[in-house]
Subunit: 158 residues, 6 copies
């Protein structure tokens, strides 16, 4: 197995996707941020009453998805046709689950955009809650589903 991102000198390159077809592509990524019970409670109260941490994280995640090729060195600067993020609060484990879906019509997949959206949303939640909780953990960020392109339909089994 060899990594495609390196040229003959062994240095990184941006892989040429010029020969690939423009197809509809979708990717879904997920991850969570775990925190103290009190922190989850503060987020929930804000969401209901006022001060919605998750609304800010949503905006940050979508803007992050658009910045992906600016942040990830070998990532192509694609046209993102759509992006959405969903949050689920898991009170038992004191976690906020973040699911991002990214879409394009283009020559290369959008998994990096979905993963960057999740990652940016999680960091934003961290930033907005860090005054009351320094021990939050961002975890389990992974690709859930990927459609379009020649590699076919991938659905994560676990």
């Amino acid at each position: 197995m060899s990594l495609t991102h390196f040229n003959e000198e062994g240095r990184a390159r941006m892989v040429d996707v010029g020969e690939k077809d423009d197809t509809k592509r979708v990717a879904v990524a997920r991850g969570y941020i775990e925190m103290k019970k009190e922190t989850i409670e503060a987020i929930k109260q804000g969401a209901i009453k006022k001060g919605d941490v998750l609304a800010v994280a949503q905006v940050a995640g979508i803007m992050g998805a658009k910045k992906t090729s600016d942040i990830i060195p070998m990532c192509h600067n694609i046209f993102l046709s759509g992006c959405d993020i969903e949050f689920q609060i898991d009170e038992e484990n004191s976690r906020v689950y973040i699911t991002a879906k990214a879409k394009t019509v283009g020559k290369t997949g959008v998994e990096m955009e979905a993963l960057t959206a999740v990652s940016t949303a999680a960091l934003t939640i961290y930033d907005m809650c860090k005054a009351i909780d320094k021990e939050m953990i961002i975890g389990d960020i992974k690709l859930i589903e990927k459609k379009g392109g020649k590699s076919g339909h991938f659905v994560r089994s676990d």
Copy 2:
């Protein structure tokens, strides 16, 4: 407990730190990316022979740290006086551990910069290996240590 990032209307604001002193501040964050044995092997071989995934991730992480305030909505645009990243390969668990240290002399802490560096480095490793492994997991991103400023010296216990 209330979140400081909201104004009286309940909408997000960038907290005023103008009254705080300029002090030396350091933050250390850590996380990992878990992958197949073959993927770790490909990274290791590249690092030794040619095609150094971690060198690219290092550059991405440091540039990511400098972009933190551009990515995280309520984060201050501070002067970063230094930034470094270390990688450790944990073959038993098939993980690359990423540790980032960020430093400033300024009015606000640099934990978001350290966390963003780890997160960006992990996403970059993901991007460069995704052609051979779609099931990598980014996990356990957290603050390890934080020095400087009025909140004192924080060291994570676990």
Copy 3:
């Protein structure tokens, strides 16, 4: 009437335009910046002799148009096929009128790009003249015309 920019949780999303056709699209926006007689005079003299405020505003406006999706959270990152800006000095009302035209061949309109170009050009004029005039007013920024896409040809009546 409901706003399309929100998902079922009531949080913002980037609307999916993947199903839309690639068509030629044009948008024209206009606005003005009003200032003291002396300030308009200084701009005019610069434009004729040396020190062209409007040349700088022109560059800023075009670069602003290209940054639109980086500035406006739910805006798609489209390919801008062309952009131009015109200035008209209205001496009677002591205003500089700014008209921006943006063009694309793509799946979504370019009115935000035209409006951002006008807005950025106006702010740049403000910045360059603020040492001699603190009371300038940026006003009446609006869409003048929009062509292409399924919503048809819009021309503002007033």
Copy 4:
């Protein structure tokens, strides 16, 4: 009166502020976006129930303030110590008023940051409502107050 932003060749330069003192500086800017009654109503309902246009505009405005020196050519890249935005709905005139306050401790004023925050927030409201209203007008963006630095305390009279 001459414009300070030009060098001896008559071309733009970034004025040297290296000799100025670091002082606390505050600027307040204001503007509005005018729209149809139905559009204001849609925003209000969203703010109360779900789909808060103004929360997105708030995030965009604050991020816009941080991007000011990247957007306005001759503007210094200052450290912004704080930023907040307030919205007031004027139902009689069918307008949303946007007030932004920016703060720094530095060598140059923050009026451009406050004005850019207002401008970006207004454009974001436009973007999110344009599917139901193409005739919105962004108007009357101006400096309201400015404190700090050698030019003293400015308060707009009207």
Copy 5:
């Protein structure tokens, strides 16, 4: 001969390429950075043993290519389908030669992307070696080859 980048008022515009066809386009640019013998030696040792200046310059050059339209005012924001950079060490003249190839499928050429990649890589080498050599010179940056589009195949003769 007249420059196409200006409108009828004589101010800069982004030329409209909306009528052009989407074709495969390639551009190759080259340049060098000249330095002391000891500096070249330090780079070579790093490349062999550890501390690879050229690996960092490679990443910077590719990221620079993606930022071209953000840096060059009248440049279109195109989709870059691929980008690669090669370094050759010319020990006799104590130079590192940098060759960048950029590719797109689009309406306009990619020579600016290739030139910006060379330029950014050279500046990065400068930055990383400036502690030991203040007299480096970046030189001879030029277009070597250009294919695709109506202007045909250009190959530089010297």
Copy 6:
């Protein structure tokens, strides 16, 4: 001699400058772009009559200086207190000479900002003239002078 930009693992880091004093620092860099006689003539006519290529290059160069730390991976994100660019037309050699001066009050030098300004201005001239001249050459970009900081006053001898 060893390069300071690498950590113990031999990977790049952003050198810590937190211990350095804030001092006034100035750097001057210079370079040229060489072109056909007709191209120089077109630029000169534009500068006199209308269509000022150099005015656009000036704006691009100053904005480029502000983006330096975003473009050059290991470069610190400093506050730039001032920046200016001068052009000299050398008709004999058919060159435009570009001289950039950057200033800061801070912990690290501004030579990269001055060099990036020259480089960006040269690329912008290239972009605006490339429709009439594909054989321009950007050359001889180097540091001319550097003041401030512990390394003392450097003036290039040739």
